[in-house]
Symmetry: C2
Subunit: 288 residues, 2 copies
C-alpha cells in the first residue's frame, strides 16, 4: 500500500475534526483559545488518531465511529507536549519546528491551555460510544499510572545510573500507554471482539516500545531540522535512554524486532489490518 | 437542623472515599502520589462533594449513587487549587494553612500532581452512572468554557479597571460552574426529573455567585489564620473583585439576597432539600 497517500488522507480527516472540536480563537478567553489552537493545530504526525481510525477499520468498523476518540487522543497528546515543555519540566523552546506554547504565549497560558486540552479530551469522549469504556481507557492511560506517572519518573531519573527496569517503566507509561489506548479505543468504538482487542493490544504494546526506542535513537542521530526540536538534548540532560543503556546498534536491532512482532500479532485480523502493519514500520522510520 | 453535625458526618464519608480512590503514597511514582495525597487529603470544607451528595438526596436518591461523582468533583477542585497556586499563576505559598503543593514538593511535581488529579476525576466518573452525562457535565464545567477559562481571564484582568461584565464572566466560570456541576451531578446520578434538575441548577447558580462574593469579602475582612491562606492578596495583586467594584456593604447585601433566592428555588423539592438550604447559608458564613 501507498503509506504516504494513506497518511496524507487520514491527516486531513483528523485536522478537520480537530479544527471543529476546539473553540474558535476569537472566543473568550481569546488568548487561551489561541494557545490551544496554536499547539493543537501545529501539524505533527497525528500518529495516535490515525492508529485509532486504523484500528476501528482493522476490526471491520467504519472510521466515523472512531473520529471522536481520535480527536480526544490528539487533544490529550498535545496537552502532554505543552506541559512537558514547561520550564519546570523539560524546559524546551522548540516543538514541531515552532516555539513551544509557553515561549509563544506565556507560562500561565501554557499551563492553562494544557489543562483545557486535557479536559476537552474527556468532553469529546463523553459524546462517543461506548463513552464509559472510552473515558476509562483514556484516563487510565493518561493518569498517575500512565503518562503522568511516566513523566514524573522520567524527571526523577535524570542524572541517575541507567536501570533497565526503571527505563521500561518510564517508556511504557510515558509513551506506550497512549499508543495502546489509541488502538484499543478505535477497536472499542467499532465494537471489537475480545480476540480482536487482544491482538490489537499486543500490536500496540510492541509498537509503543519500538516508538520510544526510535525516539531515543533519533535524539542522537537526527538533525534539529529533521526532528523539529533540539537534538542531543537527552544526553545533555543525562536522560535515561535506550541508547545510553544498550548502545545505538542494539537499540536499532531491538526496535526492528519489535516491529516484526507487532506485525505478526495482526495476523488474526487479516487484510483489514494492512494499514496498521504499514504504520508499525512507520513508527521507527519517521524523521519527525 | 444541626448543620455542623451534618457536615462532620458527610466529611468523614467523603474523606474515606477520597482516601480509597487515590493511589497509595508508596506506589511508584512515589513522590507524585505523595503530592496528590498531600493536596487532596489536606482537609478543606469538601463543599462540592457534600453539595453533590445532598443534591442526590434532595431528589429522593441514595447518597451512595453520588459518591463517585463526589470524589471526582473534589479531585478536580484540588487540581485547580494546585495549578492556581503555581508561581506562573497566583504564586501562593499557603493553602488550607499548609505550604502549597509546589512549595512542599517542587514545581514539576505540582504540575504533574494537578494533571493526575484532573485525569483521576474522569477515571472515577467512568465507573459511575450515567457515566457519559456525568463526564460531559464535569468536563464542560472544567474546560476552557468553565474553570480554566475563568482562571485565564482572572489572570488577564489583574491591574485592569473594574468591569462588571468581565467580573461576572470570571466568577461564573472560575467558581460558579463547578458548584453548579456538583449539584447537577448529584441529581443526575440519582435520576432526577427535569423539574428537579432545573430547581437545583437555579439553586446552584445563586450560591455559586454568593460564594464568590463571600470569598472576595473574606479576602478583605478575614485573618490569615481564619482563611488558611494570605489575606489582602486580592488588593495587593489588583485583582478584580466584587469588593473593589461595589464596596464591602453592597457586596454583603448582594450575597445575602442571592442566598435567599437560592433557598426559594429549592421549594419544589420539599423537606428532602433542607440540608441544601442550610448549605446555602453556610457558603457565605464560612470562615475558612
Amino acid at each position: 500500500m501507498d503509506l504516504n497517500a494513506y497518511l496524507a488522507e487520514r491527516r486531513q480527516e483528523v485536522e478537520g475534526a480537530l479544527d471543529r472540536c476546539v473553540p474558535r480563537a476569537g472566543e473568550r478567553p481569546a488568548r487561551l483559545h489561541a494557545a490551544m489552537r496554536y499547539s493543537l493545530l501545529a501539524g505533527g504526525k497525528r500518529l495516535r488518531p490515525i492508529l485509532c481510525l486504523a484500528s476501528a477499520e482493522a476490526v471491520g468498523g467504519a472510521r466515523a465511529v472512531a473520529l471522536l476518540p481520535a480527536v480526544a487522543l490528539e487533544c490529550l497528546h498535545t496537552y502532554t507536549l505543552i506541559h512537558d515543555d514547561l520550564p519546570a519540566m523539560d524546559d524546551d523552546d522548540l516543538r514541531r519546528g515552532l516555539p513551544t506554547c509557553h515561549r509563544k504565549f506565556d507560562e500561565a497560558t501554557a499551563i492553562l491551555a494544557g489543562d483545557a486540552l486535557l479536559t476537552l479530551a474527556f468532553e469529546v469522549l463523553a459524546r462517543a460510544t461506548p463513552a464509559a469504556q472510552l473515558v476509562q481507557e483514556l484516563a487510565e492511560a493518561a493518569g498517575s499510572r500512565g503518562i503522568v506517572g511516566g513523566q514524573a519518573e522520567d524527571l526523577a531519573a535524570e542524572g541517575c545510573e541507567p536501570d533497565a527496569a526503571l527505563l521500561d517503566f518510564i517508556h511504557t507509561n510515558k509513551t506506550g500507554k497512549l499508543l495502546r489506548a489509541a488502538c484499543r479505543m478505535g477497536a472499542l468504538a467499532a465494537g471489537a471482539s475480545a480476540g480482536q482487542l487482544a491482538a490489537l493490544t499486543t500490536y500496540a504494546e510492541k509498537i509503543g516500545l519500538a516508538f520510544q526506542i526510535a525516539d531515543d535513537v533519533l535524539n542522537v542521530t537526527s538533525t534539529a531540522q529533521q526532528l523539529g526540536k533540539a537534538v542531543g538534548s537527552d544526553a545533555a540532560r543525562k536522560k535515561m535512554t535506550y541508547v545510553a543503556l544498550y548502545g545505538l546498534a542494539t537499540a536499532r536491532t531491538k526496535a526492528a524486532a519489535l516491529i516484526a512482532e507487532a506485525q505478526t500479532a495482526l495476523a488474526p485480523l487479516g487484510a483489514q489490518a494492512e494499514p496498521l502493519a504499514a504504520l508499525a514500520a512507520f513508527t521507527i522510520e519517521r524523521s519527525s
